[in-house]
Symmetry: C2
């Protein structure tokens, strides 16, 4: 089995190293990842400048790896359409340094890369560690290999992929696995205003999470309770329930 | 009524000018938009460098306007959390130079800005012109004003916004308005490989649309038939139908 690995923390991040190395025990691994930190790039693609692809030595491994001066979504597109001469059986994005939960998946380069895989019809998954420090990427990598094997054996509905978050606790403290929905993540006081040495204002995007009551079935509630969260996601944003309502709006009068 | 206007083509694009000027006939208009072309940035946010905000003269108008060195999503966040001392009644993103249909909404800065508005609980809409040349932004602006007034008068389900595309035909040839679903947009042969003057390879992201049979109810089919498309969209990517299926995967064995 062949796996295309990418991420949004950049090709020299620890998470992608541990992931690719573990996967290489069972799969042929191909890494195509951003040449630097590209987190929070959402589903951005690079249309206004050319993309460069450089073959790189991937840490202490013989894994084939290419660094791209683009976004995670660019990497998936380039990987399957331009770089690889094989067709992967699965695309895995991660392991992300930090959570990708609820509404935040929209901003996530990690999840967007896996969505891009699903758009192209590949089995895809994104994997993130909720921990903020002393992240146990070995645990994330072990789990990634097992869930990838499971996904290869099973079928998902068309246009569907998995978004996985490992809770912020030790491997021993994990209570189990739950299949979840995406929760709601909103931020307040998101900007910190500062003055530069030349007296000019600038802003840093910060962000304090608004405490909201989360549905028990949500990914956010799940990881808070020390379960691994697996959320099936898709990329059809249509709000079907609203269609009939809007049809009643007397649009002809417009 | 107060409206926050943004876009992804940049604050000096014709589409946002025509839109804001038309809306100013009926609304108090505030423009917060990228300082340059930022299309295809998806839902990217700027976390790794500081954001600058500059008040600018907005063409021949007295409309209050700020240019931001960030993405459309940054502009919405900054507008409502840092720049404006009022709370808008509606957020409008556009008028985009080109379509935002089907799967492509994921890549769209225009649509992502409106999604960001909806995440923050505002009535929001994105508007795009399908035409590739001689774009009749006046028509788009007239329609934007009318649909904005309609949206202010009506209610949508929570977390829902409107994605609007004006077909590639003259105002007189438009057959009407349809409420649609998002179609499927995939690309093939997306990359063009070239050699720079120093002998190094680079790639341009191109993209030829794969001809696919579109559902009759889709936005893509709708604009091809010269109707204006209004698609209600939301930002919950959960694939609810897959949850029970994945629960049967014997995850305990992992």
């Amino acid at each position: 089995m062949k796996v295309l690995v990418t991420n949004d923390d950049g090709i020299f991040a620890e998470g992608i190293y541990k992931l690719a190395k573990k996967l290489s025990e069972k799969f042929d691994v191909y890494v195509v990842a951003p040449d630097r930190q590209r987190s929070a790039t959402g589903h951005a693609i690079t249309m206004h400048h050319p993309l460069r692809v450089n073959k790189v030595k991937f840490f202490d491994t013989d894994i084939l790896a290419w660094a791209v001066n683009g976004t995670p979504t660019d990497c998936v597109k380039l990987g399957i359409e331009a770089i690889l001469d094989i067709k992967p059986d699965i695309i895995i994005s991660g392991i992300n340094d930090g959570p990708n939960l609820g509404t935040d998946v929209l901003y996530s380069g990690t999840v967007s890369a896996a969505i891009e895989g699903a758009i192209h019809g590949f089995k895809s998954l994104a994997i993130s560690m909720v921990s903020k420090k002393d992240i146990d990427y070995d645990f994330g990598a072990d789990f990634s290999l097992k869930i990838a094997e499971k996904l290869l054996e099973k079928e998902l509905p068309n246009n569907t992929l998995l978004n996985i978050n490992i809770p912020d606790c030790s491997r021993q403290e994990v209570k189990g696995i739950k299949v979840t929905t995406l929760g709601i993540r909103r931020y307040k006081n998101s900007f910190i205003k500062r003055i530069d040495p030349r007296g000019q204002e600038y802003y840093w995007l910060g962000g304090e999470i608004v405490k909201e009551i989360q549905n028990e079935s949500s990914d956010i509630a799940c990881v808070e309770d020390n379960y691994i969260s697996i959320t099936p996601i898709h990329f059809d944003l249509t709000k079907f329930e609203a269609i009939e309502e809007i049809k009643k709006w007397d649009l002809k009068s417009i």
